[in-house]
């Protein structure tokens, strides 16, 4: 089998992303006007953030075949690590000079990703021994535990580190030297630079020997093991990578939104990530940006266009449509709307 070349499509995508960014920079709000409020820089930034999470999730679910129903927890851990260490740093006794330094948030982002990845590696080595459903269940439990711990101030209400239900406000913007990476049109480039790097990283993993081992793992765990792949360790590594990527996205989110609340990282958001992954196609790195953009656009469309036309119906129908969409996509396109290969159906079940 010849290796599919992923370089040219990636460059094309980078070019499109850059062109859109430059246009927005030159004419702020131009996109929103052209699309009648459907597409905004804000939406594209969130697409970039979810792309980062989804590349990791797709590697885990689509390639390694291991479900995660708690991925938002890692996203939240990154976001809260950044928010706590930049806003509440003084409570923790971090020197003021350090907190004021422009590179501190970047350092926190990197350290958080390492810590979250390490945490996932340890957890993963333990729980990824489990097969099939059980892993999904364990990640579900993990996601809810992390959410509750964030909501309950890490069990230390006197420090008020996470701010409980209300979360943390006033997360500073990212800076390079003295230059603030803001307004939003500038931040777009930051997020998408990371997102494109992550997509390249994902494609690199997929087209490496590791990627082949992963695909083999999805096909048959037993067969993969029998050709000498340490299946447990491989799964744990991919789990750790996906967690670290989610953490980076979380940090970028915290600096973008300037406020973080635990509800953004609960059980339902974890499910939304799975929906995006399923819509784009789990077994495809390209599915990550596509799935994120499709779902976000659809949500936006529902919110601003369709539901706005029906006065009696408020935003309440959003979850109904969302759930129904998930069901329909999984029923008719289980491999996602963009898929590079067919997901194998398991026979003999009813």
């Amino acid at each position: 089998m010849t290796q599919p070349r992923w370089g040219p499509p990636w460059l094309a995508m980078a070019a499109v992303v850059a062109a859109v960014g430059v246009w927005e920079l030159a004419q702020p709000g131009g996109l929103a006007r052209l699309s009648r409020g459907l597409i905004s820089t804000d939406l594209l930034i969130r697409t970039g953030l979810f792309t980062i999470v989804l590349v990791g999730l797709n590697l885990l679910m689509g390639y390694a075949g291991q479900a995660s129903l708690g991925q938002a927890a890692f996203y939240g851990m990154g976001a809260f690590a950044s928010a706590i260490l930049t806003v509440r740093g003084r409570v923790l006794g971090i020197p003021q000079d350090l907190l004021a330094a422009w590179w501190w948030p970047w350092l926190v982002m990197g350290l958080a990703a390492l810590a979250v990845g390490g945490f996932a590696l340890v957890v993963g080595l333990a729980i990824l021994r489990l097969r099939g459903h059980y892993l999904a269940m364990a990640t579900l439990g993990l996601g809810i535990i992390v959410y509750i711990v964030l909501r309950e101030n890490l069990g230390m209400p006197h420090l008020n580190l996470t701010g409980g239900f209300d979360g943390i406000v006033g997360v500073p913007r990212l800076r390079v030297g003295g230059a603030e990476l803001w307004p939003v049109q500038v931040y777009y480039f930051v997020v998408w630079a990371v997102a494109l790097t992550v997509v390249a990283l994902g494609l690199g993993v997929v087209h490496s020997p590791v990627g082949r081992a992963l695909r083999a793992l999805h096909g048959s765990e037993l067969a993969t093991e029998s050709v000498g792949v340490d299946v447990g360790r491989l799964k744990a590594k991919i789990f750790a990578l996906s967690a670290a990527l989610a953490s980076v996205a979380g940090s970028l989110y915290a600096h973008f939104q300037a406020a973080v609340v635990p509800d953004t990282f609960g059980f339902v958001p974890s499910l939304e990530l799975v929906v995006m992954s399923a819509v784009g196609g789990m077994s495809s790195i390209w599915g990550a940006p596509f799935g994120a953009l499709t779902v976000l656009l659809l949500e936006q469309l529902l919110r601003t266009h369709v539901l706005g036309l029906l006065p009696a119906v408020s935003g309440e129908l959003e979850p109904v449509v969302f759930g129904a969409l998930l069901v329909v996509i999984m029923m008719f396109w289980p491999a996602g709307l963009v898929s590079s290969r067919k997901v194998q159906a398991s026979p003999g079940s009813s």
Binding site: A67, G132, M137, L140, I145, E316, A345, S349
Partner: protein
């Protein structure tokens, strides 16, 4: 017991590999001993932890007894929900996350059929509850027929995600129909909001708790009779043991799967209805109850009916003790910590009989 997810190829591979005397994927010595010591050890650690936390609050025997009795009430509800998971899993091999929605639909539909708390009497309440159970069962069967049945060839993960989507939709519809506010369900004994309190020794028991226990026992007995004595029940058990063989014997496996969803709907709705007077049902109550019922089912090994009931009781009691001695916000933590520990220590379930 071999779980349904384990393909037969493992056995084949185990027979064809080079050293046949060892089980495939031989666990290290430490892991083989672990399950045997882990159960009493874990219980001891949990017990000691709860006792230490309780001592801080000056708890004595009466307080613990009260928490324990309260725990058996929620535990019975968890058990019923868990049985719903098990019934569906055994026949279809799917973990049905929509189970929580059935739990929510039971009380919400009952209250709707009652037309608010104004008109109550024993007969209307019973009629409304019965109708709600039947309607929920119908919805559950429709869910299987129109979502999971067409996708029966898809992978287990795909089908699980489908049930998640069904849950989100049903909860969304509930929000649309009933709004976000909590509702009130009359207590079964007094037919009012206020329930009678019974004093037994030093323990206070709501009259509703007796209803929960009684309904729990009757439902489980009914289920056992169904599986042991009726043709449909036996056919369903056959599907659980071996789908292909059952099909060859002329059993309509897909119908049995729909029936299993109907049963799960009944169990979920009943659980929600008996619980509702002592909580205030809302459109999103299914998430928590569904997840906890699922933890109970896992504790029982996911394929074992008595195990699921036992798992529910154990979870309910431990959670009640934990909630009694810790900060309020951490109450829900227990079930999920237990879920992960259970999965790690003994994925095949703790309450299952030792036959492997």
């Amino acid at each position: 017991m071999r779980s349904a997810a384990e393909p037969a190829t493992t056995e084949l591979a185990a027979r064809t590999r080079r050293k046949p005397q060892e089980p495939f994927r031989a666990p290290p010595a430490a892991r083989r001993v672990l399950p045997r010591i882990v159960r009493p050890a874990a219980l001891a650690v949990v017990g000691a932890g709860l006792w230490l936390l309780g001592r801080r609050l000056g708890y004595g025997a009466p307080e613990y007894l009260q928490l324990l009795v309260d725990g058996t009430v929620t535990g019975s509800v968890y058990g019923l929900v868990a049985v719903g998971f098990v019934v569906v899993y055994r026949v279809t091999g799917v973990i049905n996350f929509a189970q929580g929605a059935f739990v929510m639909l039971g009380p919400m539909l009952t209250i709707t059929f009652l037309g608010g708390i104004g008109v109550t009497g024993g007969v209307p309440l019973a009629a409304a509850a019965a109708t709600a159970v039947v309607v929920t069962a119908g919805i559950a069967m429709a869910v299987h027929r129109f979502t999971l049945h067409p996708a029966r060839q898809a992978s287990a993960l795909t089908r699980i995600i489908i049930t998640v989507g069904v849950y989100i939709s049903l909860q969304g519809l509930a929000l649309r129909a009933w709004g976000p506010r909590p509702y009130v369900m009359p207590a079964f004994s007094t037919l009012q909001m206020e329930d009678r309190l019974l004093q037994v020794g030093g323990v206070v028991v709501q009259a509703q708790s007796l209803w929960v226990w009684a309904v729990g026992v009757v439902t489980v007995l009914g289920l056992i009779l169904f599986f042991e004595r009726t043709v449909a029940g036996k056919a369903m058990r056959a599907c659980a043991v071996n789908r292909t063989a059952a099909r060859l014997m002329g059993i309509r496996v897909d119908r049995m799967a729909t029936l299993a969803f109907g049963l799960a709907g009944i169990l979920g709705a009943v659980a929600g209805i008996v619980l509702a007077p002592s909580t205030r049902p809302t459109y999103d109550m299914g998430l928590e109850l569904g997840l906890k019922g699922f933890v109970a089912a896992i504790a029982g090994g996911l394929t074992n009916l008595p195990g699921a009931v036992g798992g529910g009781l154990v979870l309910g009691i431990l959670e009640s003790l934990w909630a009694g001695v810790t900060v309020a916000g951490f109450k829900d933590l227990f079930a999920f910590v237990m879920l992960i520990l259970l999965l790690l220590a003994r994925p095949q379930g703790w309450l299952e009989a030792g036959h492997q």
